[in-house]
């Protein structure tokens, strides 16, 4: 397990907002924040770990709750999110202006376990089908579908160059792939309308027999496909899925975002959002 950094609840300043795809916007927030409430502190938004997310709400806002948005990337000064304009809350977030403030709570949740982490080594060692001896290195696939590309792209960029294949599937056009081509072993892109890469869907290009370790985030039908394809593959890749759920608190308090697993209900916000595919019931 990754140890989560302490969360903050504060208002962050918008550095920039720009469209990067159809109804998809890149929102850059400044990490340094000033107090916005009688209790808030001046400070800096903690460094997120790839896979974590924030609850975001524009200020002012006509909605009640923040929306869970994954971190795309960050540096010392800023954090960048990719936001799909879907409903009221995300529409507001896609319409902010530089200098405006956004209410944030985060970073929230667990993270993707890195291929070289001791936890992964442990799981692989005890896996039902041990790896063949000839491949000392794990064969890794990182998969993003639609807006789900944001957290996995951020994660992929933190991995050593040439150690993974990157799959990205979109309806039309692409986004969120900056820097991926330079670092991935192979980049495989599909679009449903053929506007970029191969025409089709992930299932047309993905072969689970090629991998020991798979990371994915995307629409539930795609995650279901990955879960079952990998389960049925003779190589039995270890699969981590980043899940999405309607959320209220993002603190693990309301139990509104539970995910059913083999070990009972888990909270998507703080027990996840990343789960072992062998454990979740999608």
């Amino acid at each position: 397990m990754c140890s989560p950094y302490p969360k903050v609840a504060c208002a962050a300043t918008v550095e920039s907002i720009q469209p990067v795809g159809t109804d998809v916007f890149s929102l850059v927030l400044v990490r340094q924040f000033t107090p916005v409430s009688t209790c808030g502190d001046r400070g800096i938004i903690p460094e997120p770990i790839p896979g974590q997310f924030f609850m975001l709400r524009a200020r002012p806002s006509g909605v009640l709750l923040g929306r869970p948005i994954s971190v795309y990337c960050y540096d010392d000064r800023t954090i960048t999110f990719l936001i799909l304009k879907k409903g009221k809350g995300t529409s507001e977030l896609c319409s902010v202006s530089p200098g405006q403030q956004v209410d944030i709570i985060g970073p929230i949740g667990n993270c993707f376990l890195r291929p070289d982490s001791s936890e992964i080594e442990e799981v692989i060692k005890t896996a039902i089908t041990p790896r063949t001896e000839e491949s000392a290195e794990l064969s890794v696939a990182v998969i993003g579908g639609g807006i789900g590309v944001a957290p996995v792209a951020g994660f992929a960029l933190s991995l050593p160059p040439g150690t993974f294949d990157f799959y990205a599937s979109f309806r039309t056009g692409t986004y969120g792939l900056d820097g991926i081509a330079a670092i991935a072993k192979n980049v495989i892109i599909t679009t449903e309308d053929g506007s970029f890469g191969d025409r089709g869907m992930l299932s047309d290009v993905f072969n689970p027999e090629l991998y020991d370790l798979v990371y994915a985030c995307g629409p539930t039908p795609m995650l279901k496909y990955i879960q079952s394809a990998c389960k049925n593959a003779s190589r039995h890749p270890l699969v981590y899925l980043s899940l999405e759920q309607h959320m209220a608190c993002g603190a693990g308090a309301c139990l509104g975002c539970t995910i059913q697993t083999m070990h009972g209900n888990k909270r998507c916000c703080v027990d996840g959002p990343v789960f072992n595919a062998a454990e979740v019931i999608l």
Partner: protein
């Protein structure tokens, strides 16, 4: 009454009070189901500033809650269909309560159940624990058996309150459902059989339909409705209780002077049953409105989700507001 204390930063009121013999540093309580067991928020805010914390709704046996979608935001409101997911009272007492007691605020266990027996057995276990108060939940709208069914009818409400009262000496809050046909009658019935405090309102029962599928949004069909949208309804109901139940006279400490209600009501010789108001409170002004109407304390719930700092803001806001008035 010395309500105000002078300090260097300006005049800040002392908000401390006693409810049913229990000392609170202030009248701000985190509402059940919105604050977990307290620690969930301790990395974001100073939880110790709260007057009290109500636990997530607890049942004797563990419950996995409702299937399907559980949360739906509406204009200025929130529908939830959690369904009392909780680890069971024995687990709560062993694993959650000790840490909850370390947080500082008054610890209130929210007790729910299905049958009368599960309420009573749950109350017995809580009575033997170190929990400070019990909030009897006869108002959860999201479970098929029990919950709100006990809170809609004065007789049923009195039956469960009396049975729980018999097995515990802990101060007993009864949390009322706004869905009762006659809330005043339910309130009077539970007061008559030994409720020490009333809290209201729990969520309103709502319904939502998914027009793309033609099916209800929630597997449990109906769901509990909370948030700023319900505040005027909740406040009206608090006022109804203060007017209609003789024992529930307005608390003097925070009410308007003279209270709008106090002047209407004759002095009662009855024991005093404080009312804790909740429903859509999102800022200190909302809290002051409940307190000035005559509530002894208030609970904050849904508003915490969007802004956990609302708790500190409300406390500071009330300290300043009452400091200025004293």
């Amino acid at each position: 009454m010395s309500e105000g204390t002078q300090n260097m930063a300006g005049k800040k009121a002392d908000l401390s009070l006693k409810i049913a013999g229990i000392s609170f540093t202030n009248p701000i309580i985190a509402a059940s189901g919105t604050f977990g067991y307290g620690r969930e928020y301790s990395d974001v805010i100073d939880v110790s500033r709260l007057g009290g914390i109500c636990s997530k709704g607890l049942t004797l046996e563990p419950r996995s809650g409702n299937t399907g979608r559980r949360i739906l935001e509406t204009p200025s409101g929130l529908m939830n269909s959690i369904g009392l997911e909780n680890p069971g009272i024995p687990h709560f007492i062993e694993h959650e309560l000790p840490k909850m007691l370390e947080l500082g605020p008054v610890v209130i266990a929210n007790l729910s159940g299905s049958t009368l027996n599960t309420y009573v057995e749950g109350a017995r276990l809580l009575d033997a624990s170190d929990v400070h108060m019990i909030e009897l939940n006869i108002s959860c709208p999201n479970v098929k058996a029990g919950g709100m069914a006990w809170g809609l009818d004065p007789k049923a409400a009195a039956t469960v309150t009396k049975a729980v009262r018999r097995v515990t000496n802990k101060p007993l809050i009864v949390k009322l459902s706004p869905n009762a046909l006659s809330l005043v009658k339910v309130a009077q019935a539970v007061v008559n059989v030994g409720a020490d405090v009333l809290s209201l309102v729990n969520t309103f029962q709502g319904f939502a339909l998914d027009i793309t599928t033609g099916k209800p949004v929630f597997d449990n069909i109906t769901a509990g409705f909370s948030g700023p949208a319900i505040k005027p309804l909740a406040l009206r109901m608090v006022r109804d209780i203060l007017l209609g139940v003789p024992q529930c006279s307005p608390a003097r400490k925070f009410s308007s002077v003279p209270s709008e209600l106090a002047i209407r009501k004759k002095h009662k010789k009855n024991r005093f049953v404080p009312v804790i108001g909740l429903g859509g409170i999102s800022c200190w002004q909302d809290a002051a409105e409940f307190l000035m109407t005559g509530a002894s304390a208030i609970q904050i719930g849904t508003a915490i989700f969007a802004n956990p700092h609302v708790i500190g803001d409300v406390i500071t806001g009330l300290e300043t507001f009452y400091g200025r008035r004293s």
